[in-house]
Symmetry: none
Subunit: 251 residues, 2 copies
């Protein structure tokens, strides 16, 4: 995936705030090439304020007189629609189409078209596209903010490309080590021994309760480090129990 | 999935515009239960304007003094974070966690916490949660608008609702009852109290070790019956410890 090959094209956007919020959403997802077709109010301080630091996207944004010019030279054009269209085309989801966008971006330029806040894209504008997508939203409240639509499509693109790592390196746990079956068994023996010592498991108790505990810990799948913490707790309990017993003897 | 069981909790939101945009994003994804913890400016005309028709979410929003009250009665609490946290918990993606949220919402209430625009959630607030998620964004521009974060998480939830994995009968009996977040919290309090009493947790200990234990048990997802067994063990340890202390006094 080459995000520098991906153009976000806003067609006749009405509110400069939406242009700014779009710039911010684009940068959040690693995109930077914004194209505006006949924006009503641009450049604008409102756009800059809502960009919240993504001003570079606004300053490098290009303004065009029509969609044809904005998508010139693109190998793939994707149009978004908020409403059903009877143009004989399948309307797909962003999730379905973004893998293709990611792939084509390696070879050449790609554009994604977003229509005006209320009216959307005209059918003539959609004709520039080879793919038509609709973001799945609640049918009872389908009015999606323009920048929100860009955000969701850009998010699916980033997920499809795998460019943005799911976890950050510093958050990734160092390769967790897991105990062998034998080591787990030693832990359960230790646990049972302590539970008997403190009188929680009666001498006549069936194995049922112990099995429940084994099943509980099995589900958690403790790492070696965690097993050591648990055994540390058992040892601390044994220490208290031993002190108590020594005093019993002393009395 | 039962979206009526899903609470979106904004903690100390600063900008009323973000509250309105959150309401709109929620309705786009079929959510309607908004909870606000100490909002700086609410109700507000700015919020209503940005809600763009999702006013019902705003008028039915509930305001709370703290996170504990906002998540009371929840079976699962998910916290969002925009920054790495060294609390010994894995930070997961919304995509990884939303299937669980969808599933638990069938049984009871779920809350998703979003922190203040700049500061995020405090560690004490994150402690109310059993899962921690971070939206994968561009490392060089990770400042995500509050309503954008809600939108992306709600989007992944709505996507997850479609393909909830079937539970394997041998893994979970349907009649199993699960504790609320509150009941789980009581168990962890009990555990910490006992670990301090027996000297396993030093008075000066950081919360790191305790968090590791919480994460271990969270993974196992104990049923109410299992929580009762674990608390029975804690009570047995307390009994031994008390005897021991009484003898210390007697000597």
């Amino acid at each position: 995936m080459n995000l520098d090959h991906v153009r976000i094209v806003l067609v006749r956007p009405t509110h400069p705030g939406n242009i700014g919020a779009t710039a911010r959403a684009m940068r959040n997802m690693g995109l930077s090439r914004l194209m505006l077709v006949e924006p009503q109010d641009f450049p604008s301080d409102t756009a800059a304020a809502r960009a919240a630091g993504a001003d570079d996207v606004l300053t490098s944004a290009e303004v065009f007189a029509n969609v044809a010019d904005a998508v010139a030279g693109c190998k793939l054009v994707v149009a978004t629609t908020a409403r059903p269209r009877s143009i004989g085309w399948p309307v797909e989801t962003p999730k379905a189409v973004m893998p293709e966008v990611a792939k084509v971006s390696d070879e050449g330029e790609v554009a994604m078209l977003f229509g005006q806040e209320r009216a959307g894209l005209s059918n003539a504008e959609v004709d520039h596209a080879q793919r038509l997508i609709r973001i799945p939203v609640n049918d009872d409240f389908s009015s999606l903010n323009l920048a929100a639509a860009v955000l969701l499509v850009a998010y699916e693109l980033s997920m499809a490309g795998g460019d943005i790592p799911a976890t950050h390196p510093e958050e990734e746990s160092p390769e967790e080590e897991y105990p062998s079956a034998e080591e787990s068994h030693f832990f359960y023996e230790h646990l049972e021994k302590v539970l008997r010592a403190i009188g929680f498991l009666k001498p006549t108790a069936s194995t049922r309760l112990m099995r429940k505990l084994v099943w509980l810990f099995t589900r958690a799948r403790p790492s070696i480090e965690e097993i050591n913490i648990l055994r540390g707790i058992l040892t601390a309990v044994e220490r208290i129990d031993r002190k108590n017993n020594n005093k019993n003897k002393a009395q």
